[in-house]
Each structure stands twice: as C-alpha cells, then as structure tokens.
Amino acid sequence: MELESIIAQIKKGSVSAERQLFDQTTDQLMAVALRYTLDDQAARDVLQEAYIRIFSSIGKFHYHSDGETWSWLQRIVVNEALRWINKNRRWSKIRNIAPGNEVVRQVNHLYRDDKMEMLKCLRKEERIVFNMYAIEGYSHKEIAKTMGLAVGSSRSLLTRARKKLKQQVELLENQSTIPNQDL
C-alpha cells in the first residue's frame, strides 16, 4: 500500500495500517538510529520511542509527498536519538565516566558498512553534527538550537568531522587493503 493511503488508514484507526507502516519503514529508520547511537540495543530503544511518537502524532500530520513523509519520520527518530544521547551522557556522569567518552558497542553483526565504521572515528558531538548537517540536512542554526551550542561551535564541529572523515577515506583508498575489522 502506498504511504499516503497507509497514513489515511492509520488516521482512521487501522492497526493493520500501523503495522504496514512499521514494516515498510523500520529498516530504514534503524539505519538512521544506528548512525547516532552506534549501538544495536540503543537503536532499538530509540526506534521504539520514535514509533510511539509517530503513532501518537500522526493524526496531526498532513501528507504532501512520500519524501516529506520520510523527512518527518527521520526527524522524529533523530530527536529520539538525541534524547537517548542526552540520557546516556547524564548517566555517564553519575557513574563517573568522563564526559565525551562513550562505550562503542558492536554494531549489528548483520550490518557491516565502511562509512558507518568511519563514523565511529568521530567524537560524539562531531558525529551528531555531521549526521544532522550532511545527511539529514539540518541547518547550523537548527543544529545549534537542538544541541544547545553556538552556531560557530556547530560549524567547527562539522569542519573537524569532515577533516577526519576525509582522512579516513584517503587512507582507505591509498592502502587499497581490506580493512581491519577488529573493533
């Protein structure tokens, strides 16, 4: 069923339409969640909260196009991912883990992606800014507002993220090797 009709059915209260939306969108939204959390279980938690938000607010959503619908869905996932990150940061302070560090757990063993692996080289804030700017298409103003940063900080984090990723890409090209997957 097309997205437009699925959404229309969900607004009428159809649970099967909700399930259809879930089935059609889960895998793609999981990729979004993973880019922020780098953790399977966290990404699942994020997705869970995101779908709860989606279904509770879909009544107010107006369908214009599939592209806009995907953007809306992804933004909800991004917001939930940032919420998870904030929660995780506070948790890390209580447990006396130095801020800025994070435990990077094994990403979905079914999923191996060289670009995803490169994102692991970035610090958390750099990764969030890069994901939001380069992939999600947020502006620096929006990112700064969302993360509680100055616009200048957002720009500098993006620049640093780009430099590190560029280094990684060049290294991979020059080595012409199968990468070391020992993370």
């Binding site: 607010s57 970035l122 890069f130 997957q181």
Partner: protein
C-alpha cells in the same frame, strides 16, 4: 579546494546513507514492545495529568509567596525544551506565565559566572537532595552566555529527582537540579571537544599502517669495466682488453619486505646474477684439400697423345677466423633494499638503495694468462685465477611504478651498481672492477 573536498565528503556520505536499510532483528518483539508501551502510557496519562496538575498548582501557590528564590530558565534549557518538540506535539507541562516572565528577565539581566565552587556545591546538593539558592549564570567556553536555573531550597526526594531526571525535556515544577548538572556536563563536554585532537585511532577502523609485500624482478645490465694490470708483462692488460669482450648482465630476484606507513620500506631476498664475457680468439686456418675429379687430368705429349697424370688435385686454403667463446660468471647475492615509495592511487614514485652481499661465485670459461696461454677454467682450478667471493656491492635506483590491480604494482627501476671488488686472484696481477648500469622490471604484490 577544501570547500569542494568537504562538499564531496558530505555528498559521499549522504549518498551512501540515504535510503540505507539495516535489518532489524526480531521485529515482532519490537512491534509488541511498541504496542504494549502505547497501551500502558495511554492508560496512565489522564490520572498522571491530574496528579501533576495538582502538584503544579500547589507548587505555584507555594512559590508565589517565596521571595528569596526565583526559578529562572536559561537559554540552553529553553533550547532543550525545544529539542524534544518535533513538529508534532510533545507532551509538556504547562508553565505559569509569571515564571516565564521571570525567566526572561533573568536571561536579560543576569551575568554572573558559575564557579567551580558553585558547581561543586550543586554537585554536593544533588547528592544530598538539597539545593543551593541564588542566581547563577554560566559563561560557556565558547563565550556563549547561558543562564543556569537558580535552584530552590526545597528538599526533594531521590525518587522525585529520578523521575525528574528522566523528564529532562520539561521544566520541573520543583526546580531544575538535573539541568544544572546536565548543563555542567555539557559545558565540560564542549570544553573537551574543543580541545580534542585528531581522530581517536584506537576506535578507528582504518588506521595508517604498513604492508608486507613480495617482490619479483628481472634486471638487464651493461657492465662498465675498469681493467688494470699490476704485473711486469707489458701489453697484458691490452691483450686482455682485446681478447675479452664484456657482454651483458642478467639478474633475477625474489624479495620479501615491509612497507611502513610513512612510505619507506625494507626488503631482503635472494638474487641470481649471470654475467657473460666473450673471449675472442684469432685463428689462422690452413686447409689442404685433395679434390678427386672423375674427368682426371691428362696432358698431351709431343706425339699428340694424351698422357694420364692423375685424378686428384690438392688445394690449399688459408683463412683467418675469430673464435668466440662465452665465459660465464654466476653469482648468488643477498640483496638488502632500503627505499622510499610514494603511495599514490595509481602511480608510485621513489628511490631505492641496496647492498648486495655476495653469497657464491662461480666461473666457467677461459683465462688469458700473462704468458699468452689461454687456459680453461672451471670449479677445479677457479681459485687459481679468481677470488673466492665478491664481497658486497652497492646500487641506487629511481623508481616508477603503476598499480595494475588492488594489490599488484608493476615497476621500472633504472639502476646503477657500484662494485669496487676485483674479480681476479691477486697472484694473476690482473684487476678488473665492473660497475653496471641497468634497468629492472618488477612486480610487487602487497600481502595485506
């Protein structure tokens, strides 16, 4: 160039991740969790809303009559409130207008720095569930002014804190301790990030490192000789020069080496060299041939009668020939190479230096002695005329390579080899030193 490179990076990652799908394990379980959470939350929303409304009203009434403490929200707090508002409605606790007004006022007027003392105080109070009072503002590392909420004196239970801690998107009715702590964390986080160095290579997936390689090559060289004679016989060196013509040198080798991440490399292996000279021997050949002619030979005598002489005739041919014989020098070396090679995607340039340690030396051919005799030399009498080993020679080369596969490089190296060793036994009085100019063609295969 940088802007273009950065846009390329953005596009590379954006194109890659747009539409990327990651299979979700156990989708059924996820769906069930979503449904059960939705039911649970809808079931408790109204009662919870009622309780919170009651609590909010009580707190407002209490706070309205408190003069010493003011609850202010900082910019970041407001911003955090907006974080969790998507275009859809997020659940928020309503804020009293007066509180909002006081927040705005505080934001516009207050400019006090938060000190570590204050933060420590906050930390302690978080742990003891008591909160300090007083207006505090934060000047972040980036220079951005942020207002910290002033915390009320009200005690709170750990349970409530826990609850509020999970509710970080909302202004708590009873204060904002967790937010102060979070803001401090954020500040520290930002501070650390701005001081951050290069990529955290321990976490990084692709790191600069060396590569092992195998190298196979063939080389063709032209000897450049320097012949001297230290003995008494005059013209010996000249005879030697005339009679011995250097030909060509052929090399073939196999090496194993390591290319380091800084593009230098070290390699060693085995190299076989065969060097030929020609010995030119001038010969005068006298051939006497008897030819049998069936017609026979007659003469006619004075009486007109044929007189039989014979049926053979002897013919003598004299000719000069140059007899060429090849003399082979066969050597086995241990090459040790040290070089530098740029690692371009397709083309590679560099320089190479090597030492060749001679392991064995073998000669088959002739030897011209000072007395003019030409003698056959082989293993049995080699040591009478040649040194046992050739010692060590050195070479230098330029390198030009082209990647012909993911791991294979084809290269050319014009080389020059310096050899100060004399090939000949000191008793012979003959000193020949040979340098070589040559061209190497090789294949390098990177193992990792």
């Amino acid at each position: 160039m940088e802007n273009k490179d950065f846009h390329d990076i953005d596009r590379m990652f954006s194109d890659h991740f747009q539409g990327t799908k990651v299979p979700v394990e156990d989708k059924e379980q996820l769906w069930e969790n979503i449904q059960s959470n939705r039911k649970r939350r809808s079931g408790i929303y109204w009662p919870l809303a009622g309780i919170l409304l009651l609590v909010a009203s009580s707190a407002f009434a209490w706070m309205h009559f408190q003069e010493s403490e003011t609850l202010m929200a900082d910019e970041s707090f407001k911003t955090r409130k907006e974080i969790f508002s998507s275009e859809t409605q997020m659940e928020q606790l309503p804020l009293e207008e007066e509180k909002l007004r006081s927040m705005d006022e505080a934001m516009n007027n207050q400019e006090k720095k938060i000190t570590s003392q204050t933060v420590k105080r906050i930390e302690e109070n978080v742990l003891t569930n008591e909160r300090p009072s007083g207006d505090i503002s934060v000047k972040s590392i980036t220079g951005e002014e942020q207002l910290m909420p002033v915390l009320s004196k009200e005690k709170d239970s750990a349970e409530t804190l826990e609850t509020k801690g999970n509710d970080i998107g909302h202004i708590s009715k009873l204060g904002a301790i967790p937010l102060a702590q979070i803001a401090k964390n954020e500040m520290e986080g930002i501070h650390l990030e701005l001081l951050g160095a290069g990529p955290d290579w321990d976490k990084c997936w692709v790191r600069p490192r060396g590569q092992w390689f195998l190298d196979a090559y063939a080389q063709f060289g032209i000897p450049l000789e320097d012949i001297q004679f230290t003995g008494e016989a005059s013209g010996y060196a000249k005879d030697w020069e005339q009679q011995f013509d250097p030909a060509y040198s052929y090399h073939g080798g196999l090496m194993i080496g390591r290319q380091f991440h800084w593009n230098g490399y070290l390699a060693a292996g085995l190299e076989y060299q065969q060097f030929q000279t020609e010995h030119l021997n001038e010969l005068r050949i006298i051939e006497t041939i008897q030819i049998y002619d069936p017609r026979a030979y007659f003469t006619v005598d004075e009486n007109g009668e044929r007189q039989y002489i014979g049926d053979t005739v002897t013919v003598t041919n004299i000719r000069d020939e140059i007899e060429r014989s090849a003399n082979n020098y066969k050597m086995l070396h241990l090459p040790i190479h040290l070089g530098y090679r740029s690692k371009g995607k397709y083309w590679r340039y560099g320089i190479d230096f090597s030492a060749l340690i001679n392991l064995s030396f073998n000669y088959e051919g002739v030897f011209l002695r000072a007395d003019g005799a030409v003698v056959e030399v082989d293993e049995s009498n080699q040591s009478d005329y040649f040194v046992d080993g050739m010692g060590t020679s050195f070479s230098a080369a330029l390198h030009l390579g082209r990647m012909v596969g993911d791991r294979t490089e084809l290269y050319l190296q014009p080389r020059f080899r310096f050899n100060s060793q004399n090939y000949h036994n000191g008793d012979t009085g003959l000193s020949i030193k040979r340098n070589f100019a040559g061209l190497r063609v090789g294949l390098r295969y990177y193992l990792e």
